[in-house]
């Protein structure tokens, strides 16, 4: 390393870097974004392939015959659901018992920290029903789960019907080596959370549940089924789970392989895959699919009932039946055969799924981007922070106190807010959050009052150094766990961090900095997401959606232990405040 040992040449190198700092940063930023956009380009991505040898081929014979009967069972279920206006527990228990399963129920109750207006629930009480198919000559050490949520209204009845139909068919087969648990969960995610906590006897979210009576050992894989029509045009695969966790890629491969074999149209993010990758529209389609995945993953919420399994190291995915206006229809028998094939393959597993990737993005169901390919995009953005690298303890502490306030106050002060202002609880929580967030902007003035002397030139440089390192570590760690969230945050925070000094034009910079703040990122994301889903909204609707997204984020944290809200409130927001501080340095 003669280059570094020689002081003269070292000085020359440093001079070069300092002189070219700004252009290098710009180039890196552009390169990072370009790299990321390139990930969706098909020649740059890998085709998916099955890594697990035990699931190597789709050579199983699917014979599930009774789709019609399953649909009829679904109707019966719907009738009973309507009659008791909720989960027809007794009927389910009887029906499962008649199919030769060991049936158990679990009661649970949970009072939400504040009313959830989207789903209109506050004090939730429900019952999960599950039946265990005991594998012959197996010692109850391994299990697979097939679940279907019991949703209010007319949704998902067919899913429960098909689940019961499959249970009956599976019961008469002799090849099972793992117990199969058929679960109908009440109140979708809350019920699922209660069941999983009961099964693993943990309590991470303060839910009340009755202990489970029957178990099947360690769960190897799970599928959640959502089906709301007798026939479907395509099956959609949902992978994004809690905190942006993804199941092993082999589960997606398995689904894709069987869709190909049986001839079912399959989608991911509701997007069919196209063959014209070399055309502009084909490429933008892939970008759209990948960006949808990035946005969903970054949100950190479970996008299906499967999302909560991932915390317990259980590979899980949701399979959704979609019925659109397309001509080509698939009936329940075919969906049953698809599931039968997948379960027979999962049944063959000797080890739990571990061969394939856990960190990936999917621009289409047949292609994926592995961690080795997407990390450089993030690396290029993060490298900008490094050249910029503690008398500044005070702003640091105050920023974090503000963050802690943002984390705690909305829930604590909802009652007080409701008393004094004409708002509902949900609005109170969201508006308090926004108020605290905005109040944080007044911070620089208060910080200076606490500081003993005038801020020196040296002072802001050190503060910036600390802030930059902080941001680098924060974004680096986030990107490792949840690439999508890390990338989106880096996209907005990194430019803010790079340009801010006390010497830039104040008003303009302040405006730009606010635009690049986490809250505004979320706002843009909401609009962008709607755009991607081809359902653009007006500004007012978008704003309302934005408020509900905030409340959902807070709810997800308290209900399922999602980490996005605390991450933003306790770490990202204080970090951004540091840059705000630098801008108003005196």
């Amino acid at each position: 390393m003669g280059l570094l040992s020689d002081p003269n040449r070292r000085r020359a190198l440093i001079n070069l870097l300092t002189r070219l700092n700004a252009p290098i940063c710009v180039v890196c930023y552009m390169a990072g974004v370009a790299w990321f956009m390139g990930l969706a380009f098909e020649p740059f991505t890998l085709r998916t392939y099955m890594s697990e040898n035990a699931m190597g081929s789709t050579m199983v014979e699917e014979r599930f015959p009774s789709g019609e009967r399953a649909v009829a069972t679904g109707r019966e279920f719907a009738a009973h659901k309507k009659k008791v206006s909720g989960m027809p527990v007794e009927w389910l228990v009887k029906t499962m018992q008649a199919r030769g399963l060991e049936v158990y129920t679990q009661r649970f109750s949970r009072t939400l920290p504040f009313p959830d207006e989207n789903k209109e629930r506050y004090m939730v009480k429900g019952t999960n029903v599950y039946g265990i198919l005991r594998a012959p000559r197996a010692p109850r050490t391994e299990a697979l789960v097939l679940s279907a949520p019991c949703t209010p209204g007319d949704n998902n009845n067919q899913a429960v019907g098909l689940l019961l139909g499959l249970a009956q068919y599976f019961r008469n087969q002799i090849y099972w080596a793992k117990d199969i648990i058929f679960l109908v969960n009440d109140h979708d995610l809350i019920g699922m959370q209660a069941w999983l906590e009961g099964y693993h006897h943990t309590n991470t979210t303060g839910m009340d549940w009755s202990p489970l009576q029957g178990r099947g050992g360690s769960i190897q894989a799970a599928l959640s089924l959502e089906l709301s029509s007798d026939v479907v045009t395509s099956m959609d695969l949902v992978l994004e789970g809690l905190n942006g966790q993804l199941p092993n890629l082999d589960l997606a491969n398995l689904f894709y392989a069987f869709c190909q074999k049986i001839g079912v149209l399959c989608t991911i993010q509701g997007k069919l895959q196209r063959n014209d990758w070399d055309s502009v529209s084909g490429y933008s389609h892939a970008v759209q699919t990948m960006m949808l995945m990035v946005m969903k993953q970054a949100s950190g919420r479970p996008w299906g009932d499967h999302g909560l399994f991932l915390r317990y190291h259980i590979e899980a995915a949701t399979i959704k039946g979609i019925n659109s206006f397309r001509q080509y229809k698939t009936d329940a028998t075919t969906i049953g055969r698809l599931l039968e094939g997948m379960y027979r393959k999962l049944n063959n597993l000797l080890e739990r799924l571990h061969q394939s990737y856990f960190f990936y993005l999917m621009p289409s169901l047949s292609h994926f981007v592995s961690i080795g390919y997407y990390m450089p995009a993030f690396g290029l953005l993060a490298v900008i922070l490094l050249p910029g690298v503690l008398s500044v303890l005070t702003p640091l502490v105050i920023s974090h106190l503000t963050g802690a306030a943002l984390y705690m106050l909305p829930i604590r002060f909802q009652e007080m807010a409701v008393e004094h202002f004409p708002v509902s609880e949900t609005e109170a929580v969201v508006l308090t959050a926004i108020a605290v967030y905005t109040a944080g902007l007044a911070l620089p003035h208060n910080t200076h009052r606490l500081l003993s002397g005038e801020g020196t030139e040296q002072g802001w440089r050190v503060l910036k150094l600390v802030a930059l390192l902080y941001l680098a570590v924060l974004l680096g760690c986030t990107a490792l766990i949840n690439f999508s969230l890390g990338f989106i945050l880096a996209l907005t925070l990194v430019p803010a961090a790079a340009f801010v000094t006390p010497h830039v034009p104040k008003v303009l910079s302040a405006f730009v900095l606010v635009i690049l703040s986490p809250a505004c990122t979320l706002l843009f994301s909401v609009f962008f997401f709607q755009e991607l889903q081809e359902m653009p909204v007006s500004f007012l609707d978008g704003w309302l959606l934005y408020l509900s997204v905030i409340s959902q984020g807070i709810l997800d944290h308290f209900l399922y232990g999602s980490l996005v809200y605390p991450l933003i409130a306790l770490l990202v927001y204080p970090c951004w405040l540091l840059f705000w501080n630098i801008l108003f340095w005196k």
Partner: protein
């Protein structure tokens, strides 16, 4: 029958004129239609032999007793040997108690004679020999999965040596039982699978079932009431449960042919008794039986008074005019709810993540008003490091202090944890035993093949004297003299039950075994480039190199050097 008896008389007379060999063989099949609609068939084959394997007595002439086992007994000074191979888990909640309980996988426990000096070495040799006899992986039994229970496994035969130094107990929960284990087991029978009840033992049917268990028990028993002479008992048992849905096609109708794809035509000619018992206690409300038999027998089984129809295979008329016996059982009632056996247990691992966890053992006492003590035995491999201070035993929300605890801590790579407790189960309650553990990081060669499958922890064993259900019904409608029913008589008041919980499958932190190569490449690069240059920068002292001095200065320095003065 007469022919066989005559043969039995005549044969030894020809071969060995002097002593009458005092051995005896009995075979028996019990069929119990289960509450759930499934059917339970239990075979027992018993060979008794009045001989002495010990004290240097060379036994060389074998008749009914298998020679391979006789040699094992004498060579390794075995007092008692119990070995079972089980595929599947006994579902107590649907099937009630089994006649002979056994844990999933292989279980072996042996009492040695007190003349054995090095028990561990003998045990090691014995397991290897048995491994060969039964074609099983018993050779994987070593010190890391062997324990010496202090109370749970008492000798079942005569003799009052209870020093548990001579006892060894081991389970292999991952052992898979198949045809290759059945064939050597069948070869131990005097008639093989050629005649008698053993013709029913066809592996394609036995392994098309919900539960399969085969066992061998050897113990010394009394020959007569006064116990003047002892003899060795070899009991071979085979239990199998056929599934209603898989093999019955949903019709509640069972026959010998349907279960075993064979019918019976004769008893084993060497057997002194050969009988089939059908549990008809619930007859006629629930099922009907054909051909009918007039022979009935009553017995106390697992605390309950049961009635059996008996078919004696040594009687020719049992087989009827078609000269073959195909019992038919037609089950009438619908599928029942779950049972509430008086004692029932289950176990699971709680928690998530790969660092810590918690083992929960639940023991249910469903007796409405009697509490009874149970002995719980837990043997946990060393790589789950139990935090014994976190052990809690709770019943009905209250702390339940065990009256006896025997705990032997594990030693890494040497021996497992052993935990034995005597716990009183209150009536109608669930007792929960929890203990936390930490998962050890194994050395990379210690992982089994397919490490992501997980590691097994053997079943807990719960042994207890359970109050019998007969003692429970106070206003019995049965015809009994009043004077006999006031005090519950001792034999009937409680019965011994051993319950095994399910084994556990625990995931340990497992490295990605393809990763070392990547890691080696990456670390080498990092060390070479990053660390090397940084180390270089930190340790080297930097000096500004002076421009080379002019000619005059160099000359001056030479002169100064000669003068002994420091240079300029």
């Amino acid at each position: 029958k007469q022919n066989a008896a005559a043969q039995k008389q005549a044969e030894p007379a020809v071969l060995q004129p002097t002593p009458q060999p005092k051995d005896d063989f009995q075979e028996e099949l019990v069929v119990r239609p289960l509450h759930s609609g499934d059917i339970y068939a239990s075979f027992q084959f018993r060979t008794l032999w009045e001989t002495d394997f010990m004290r240097g007595n060379k036994v060389s002439h074998y008749r009914l007793f298998p020679k391979s086992l006789g040699q094992v007994i004498s060579k390794f000074s075995v007092r008692e040997l119990h070995i079972s191979f089980t595929q599947g888990y006994w579902r107590t909640m649907q099937w009630g108690q089994p006649y002979l309980p056994s844990p999933p996988g292989a279980e072996l426990w042996v009492w040695f004679q007190d003349s054995v000096t090095d028990v561990d070495a003998t045990w090691k040799e014995l397991t290897n020999v048995l491994s060969g006899i039964f074609c099983a992986s018993l050779n994987f039994i070593d010190s890391t999965n062997t324990v010496q229970p202090s109370a749970s496994f008492k000798p079942l035969g005569i003799g009052n040596v209870t020093d548990h130094r001579f006892l060894r107990y081991a389970t292999l929960p991952r052992e898979i039982v198949c045809t290759e284990n059945l064939t050597p087991w069948k070869k131990l029978l005097p008639c093989g699978s050629k005649a008698g009840l053993a013709v029913l033992l066809k592996s394609e049917k036995l392994f098309h079932s919900s539960f399969h268990s085969q066992a061998v028990h050897i113990r010394p028993v009394c020959q007569d009431w006064q116990c003047k002479t002892t003899s060795w008992e070899l009991r071979q048992t085979l239990n199998v449960v056929f599934d209603l849905h898989n093999s019955g096609q949903g019709k509640r109708e069972w026959s010998l042919f349907k279960m075993f794809s064979r019918t019976l035509t004769e008893a084993c000619p060497l057997a002194s008794s050969s009988k089939i018992y059908i549990d008809i206690t619930d007859n006629p409300e629930q099922f009907e039986l054909s051909p009918a038999t007039s022979l009935l027998s009553q017995a106390m089984v697992l605390g309950d008074r049961r009635t059996f129809s008996v078919y004696d295979l040594t009687q020719q008329d049992t087989f009827g005019s078609v000269r073959s016996l195909n019992l038919l059982i037609r089950w009438k009632s619908t599928e029942g709810d779950m049972l509430r056996p008086l004692l029932h247990a289950e176990r699971y691992v709680a928690g998530y993540g790969l660092q810590t966890g918690e083992i929960h053992t639940l023991m249910y006492n469903h007796h409405p008003y009697r509490s009874f003590p149970v002995l719980l035995l837990d043997s946990v491999p060393w790589y789950l490091r139990l935090y014994i201070h976190t052990l809690t035993v709770t019943s009905k929300g209250k702390d339940n202090k065990p009256s006896y605890i025997h705990y032997q801590p594990s030693k890494d790579r040497v021996r497992p944890h052993l935990l034995e407790m005597l716990v009183q189960l209150p009536p109608n309650s669930v007792t929960e035993v929890t203990v936390q553990f930490e998962r050890a990081l194994l050395k990379w060669t210690e992982y089994t093949p397919d490490p992501n499958h997980g590691f097994y922890v053997g079943s807990s064993v719960i042994s207890s004297l359970v109050p019998s259900t007969v003692a429970m019904d106070t206003n019995s409608t049965r015809e009994r003299p009043l004077f006999s029913s006031f005090f519950p008589c001792k034999e009937e008041s409680s019965y011994f039950v051993r319950v095994y919980t399910e084994p556990l499958l625990v995931n340990l932190p497992t490295p990605d075994f393809s990763m070392p190569y990547n890691v080696i490449c990456l670390t080498c690069t990092v060390v070479a480039v990053g660390y090397g240059s940084l180390y270089n920068l930190l340790t080297r002292s930097f000096q500004i190199e002076e421009p080379s001095p002019g000619l005059a200065k160099r000359i001056a320095n030479v002169i100064r050097k000669m003068r002994g003065v420091p240079p300029l």
